[in-house]
Structure formats: C-alpha cells, structure tokens
Symmetry: C2
C-alpha cells in the first residue's frame, strides 16, 4: 500500500499538528453530483452497492471533483441486515423497505451470523479497488451503522415518524432487544475489522437513531453496544469516529467509548463540546447542511463561525452536521472545501506559535 | 367565572406550593380516545376546529375520562395562517398541505393582518363554551404555534424532512423572513391575548420546529420572536408556557424570554434543567411518549425516574415530552395520570417539612 500523500484527516483524528483543518462531507458520494447521477442511471442503488467497480467509481468522484481530504467508501448501512437474511427494497423517495421486519423472538432466531469475508466480500473488493485507484492521494474511510441504528431499521422495517415498533419492543421485550443488539455488535465489529484489513484508514459508526432515545435508554440500548463494538474492532492505529445524531447529552460518556473522534450535528456548539471533551477526542462537524443552499458570502460567514468556535489547534475535522442534501449545487460544496482549506491555515499557525 | 376547584396546574406554573404534582398530556384531546374518534367520524378535522360545540366536546373528554389537571382547547396551530389567507387541507396520515406555500415577496404581501375577535371568533366561542361546561373543575389552556413554527409550515407547505424551502428563504432572503416573522408575532400575541380575554387560564407556545435550527439561527429566527410575543400578550396573571421541541441548548436564554414555564422533550434531563433554570421558571414534561406503549410496571418505573429527577418541591408540571401517540391504549394514559397523582404527594410532603 502506497504511503498517503495527504494524511491531514488522519492526523487531525489523532489530534496531531496539521497545517490546516481537513474536510470531508457526509454523503459526499451522492445524488448532488451529476457524475454520480450518471452512474446511478445505469444501475439501481443496491446494484451500485453490490458492484465494486461502480462503488469505487462514485467513491472517488468527490475527491476529484470537490477536493475533499478523505474518501468514504460508497455503500449502505443496511448491507449487514441484508447479509443476515433480511431482504429489503430501496424505494425512491421513501428509502429502504424490509420485506419482513423483525418483530418477535421467531424473527430474531432467523438472523444468520455473518462472515464478512464471504457475505460482504463485495464491499471488501470495492475497498481494495478504491485503494488502488486512490493511489495514496487521500485516506479511505469505512463505515457501519451502530447496532442500535441497524436494529431500529430492522424492527421498523421502513421510515418512521414515531418509532412505535422499536419502542414497543425495547419496553416490552428488552431481553430480545439485547439478544439481537449483541448479535449485531459482533457483526458490526467483524465487518469493520474486515474493512480495516481490506485497507480502510479509519472507520465511522453512524448512530443515526441514537437521538430518539431518552438519556437512560441511549446508554442502555445504543452507547453500550457502540463501546462493545469499539473494544472488539481489530485495528492498528486506524481512528474510530462515532456520530450519534441528535444526541446532545452524555457527551462525556460517548467520549469515553474508546472512539478517537466524535461527530457533532449542527445543533451542537462546537466550542462548548471542545471544552467538555476536546482533551480526550477529536471533533468532527458541524455546519448546518442547509447552509449549502445559501450564496457564497453566507457559506463563508457560517464556515468562519465554525472555525472560530473550535479555535486554534488540531483535533477538528470539518464536516457538515449531517449528510449533504441531494439538491445542493456542487459549486457550493466546492466553494466550502476550498474556503476551509484556505481559511483554516491561520488557526494552525496560531497553534504553531504557542 | 366560577373559581377553580383544582388550581394545582396554575400554582405549579408559578412555583407555588402544591399538595401533589399536576399532570396534563400534550394532544390529550386526540385520536387515542375512542370518544374522540366517535366525534371525528361525524366531522373532518378542520370542521371540528371551526365548530365550537365539537371543539368543546373533545376538549372536555380527557378531563372526564383520563382525569388530567388541566384542559387544553382543541384547535390547530394553523388557524392563524388560515385566517391570514393561506388555505390548507388536512390530509389523513400526511398532515396539512397548503394550496399555495409562501415562497417570495409577492406571497408575503398577500398575507392579511388578522383581527382575532372576527377572524378567529370560532376559537374564542369554543373557549367560552368550554369554560361554561368545565364549570371551574380544572383550568383551561389556550395555545398557538410560535412565529417560527407557523412560518416554517407556511413556507414548506407540507411535511418536510430536510426543510429545504424554509432554510433557503432564511439564508437567501432574511429580510423577507424577518418581515413575515414580525407580522406573525403580532398575530400570535393578539390571538393569545384574545384567548385570555375569552377565559383561558394559561397559554402555551408550541415551537415545534425550533430544533431544526443551529444555535445562532434559533436565537435570531425563533427565540427573538417568542420573546416579542410574550412581551406583547395582554394578561393578568395567566402563565405562559414555551415548548421548543428539540432545543436542548440556550435553556438559560429561553428561561429569560419572559415565559413562566419551559416545556422539555424526553431527551432532556429534567433534574439538570432544574439546576440550570429552575430558580427562574417552572418545568413541564418530560416522559418519552412511547413509554405509554409499555406495561404498567414499566410506565411506573419511568414515571418514578421523572419525579425523582425533578425532586422535591413545586415548579413541576408532569407531561409527556411530546404529544400522546394515536395508537396508545387509553388505559395506559389513565394509569399514568393516577400514578402521578398518588406517587407525587411524597415530593411535596418533603417540601412542606423543610
């Protein structure tokens, strides 16, 4: 494996000195790019996930087009439930719909233990291929849903507003919930370990649905299993990022999960979060994704606020506070990336002077 | 107007001593009650809002059936935009859909200034009728959406996931946004003043969409106008409750808005919030609404956690952290109300002993 030409992202994850703040964008390989839509016209979403050549192609697009400091392998968090035997369709504008959601003990018993080397070989192949094509230009990130987030999708079966099914299940059958979450923790840890073995330089755990839980329930049903996954991942020095969307509480406990980096959504105050946990972990985020709908001057103004909020020194990876939206103008994403690259230098010069 | 037989809710709003913690439930006049569904079969949702007899009937139902300590007038926050000239349909399972959403200067100019005494007379009539029928049994609450929340509905036009239209508008045309928010602030203040004149004993401002904003934007586009409304409401001693869903930040500033009570969603820690702002305002909430899907033992366990979290003394109004869900068993709501009434006594005995 060639050495990395740009390792700013990895250094920032470890809070090592950097010349400027690195930036990547959640969902950067996505529908806002005409080049992505061109690939997507030839194959449906699931086929794209299953085909290493297509996954590699769209993974690399934002590195070339937008100029981000890291690539993230194109895939979907639901490849794990799928490999466990739960089939789903991806329906345009509605999202994933499982054929048979998990609702009871019997459904739980049907879940297969997965062997990522076999069952998710297509993801590992996409990683190897992408690494070759990136040729050391930037690091490659692998990802998974958190056990709780995967479990929520598996139980709800489709998009939800009130999350009735998953809440009924955890309140009325916590034993089944913990059994499946345990199984999922093994699957996620094995999957992320295999990704690291296949060559990713960092991994991110997306806890998209952590924020639907009360504080106690978050600790019991989400954070406990995130920590379990982290403790089981086989890695050398690859950083682990945890992004629990909507989880504004228990930051100190999330920072104690073993993660190297904590992702923050746009409702959080980056500076306050740094004060609380910045001595233990790096922080990633957190521009409101809808700011990319604005004109360059406003994007600039809001970006400066984020950079100022974190302040001088390493330990910040610039990102949006959630995925980039499909109707954003790619020019605005380019502008953001260029502006962060230029404007952030001063925060690291100050650091060097100290 | 007869004196109130049960004024626990009003005393708790003012942090005056109470014998037990009062409880009411957001959306308590709603679909989970078979008695409500029976009325709803005879008339559609908007007709129910427009017909004082029907609104009064469903407003009183939860007082009689569930035993709550306050009634809240049955209505919808969108009666204000409707009175301003923006027509909408209420579509089952999709929510409100405006015929012509507000998107530009021209749309803004079409908005009428409202005179609640004329344009929303049917709400005021429903209040007078309900007051007569309640006959002083419990206080009656009136409500409105916050200017920001009404504006969000008017611009998006229907349910939204990413809130693209409203965000584009505030970032690219903040002048228009502030103009309409100003107009809405007058309308909301006049409307709530008229409700108080018609007899409601307290008012709640629902800031349902405050939580989609970053911290700075929340202050600029939502909180500023909430404070403005509060300063303009004509009242004697009627308490004002502010419920900004998803707004976990700026609690101190929300508490300084002039509100008497701050509502908390279920992701907040009630005890921590009390430490921060409990010296200035009362707190309302915050049981996870989905806990009412659970068996009585679990409801009991979670309710005790909430009561313990607030601790001894007045200044707490028990409620859910969001509206009651339509598929909850009414028996569970009854159980919760009875349990809070009984179990909370001890927290006020301790207070009396001090």
């Amino acid at each position: 494996m060639s050495e990395l030409k740009n390792d700013l992202f990895l250094r920032a994850c470890k809070r090592l000195p950097v010349e400027r703040t690195p930036i990547w964008i959640m969902r950067q390989a996505g529908r806002y790019l005409p080049e992505y839509r061109a690939v997507r016209e030839k194959a449906d979403f699931i086929t794209m996930c299953h085909t290493p050549e297509l996954a590699a192609e769209v993974t690399i697009q934002p590195v070339k087009i937008i100029g981000v400091d890291a690539a993230i392998i194109f895939s979907d968090i639901l490849v794990i439930p799928e490999a466990m035997g739960m089939k789903f369709d991806m329906i345009e504008s509605r999202g994933p719909v499982f054929h048979h959601p998990l609702r009871n003990e019997e459904d739980g018993k049907q879940l297969k233990r997965i062997d990522p080397g076999k069952d998710l070989k297509y993801v590992l192949d996409a990683i190897s291929l992408t690494k070759r094509e990136l040729n050391g230009s930037v690091p490659l990130i692998g990802f998974s849903g958190s056990p709780w987030t995967l479990f929520t999708y598996m139980v709800e079966g489709k998009g939800s507003k009130n999350f009735s099914y998953i809440k009924k299940l955890i309140f009325n059958n916590p034993k089944l919930a913990h059994k499946v979450l345990d199984l999922l923790s093994d699957a996620v840890a094995d999957y992320l370990s295999a990704k690291i073995e296949a060559g990713v330089n960092a991994v991110q755990i997306f806890d998209t649905w952590g924020g639907i839980l009360s504080q106690n329930d978050f600790e019991e049903f989400s954070l406990y299993y995130i920590s379990k996954v982290i403790s089981k991942i086989k890695r050398n020095n690859e950083p682990i990022i945890v992004f629990s969307k909507g989880v504004h509480f228990k930051l100190d406990k999330i920072a104690a999960s073993g993660a190297d980096v904590i992702g923050l959504d746009w409702t959080m105050d980056l500076g306050e979060a740094r004060k609380k946990i910045g001595g233990k972990v790096a922080l990633q985020g957190n521009l409101d994704p809808t700011v990319l709908y604005a004109k360059p001057d406003k994007i600039k103004e809001e970006t400066i606020k984020i950079l100022n909020s974190f302040g001088a020194g390493s330990g910040h990876i610039f990102n949006l506070g959630h995925g980039i939206l499909p109707d954003v103008d790619p020019e605005n994403a380019k502008y953001l990336v260029q502006f962060v690259k230029e404007e952030s230098k001063v925060f690291h010069k100050i650091d060097a002077k100290k």
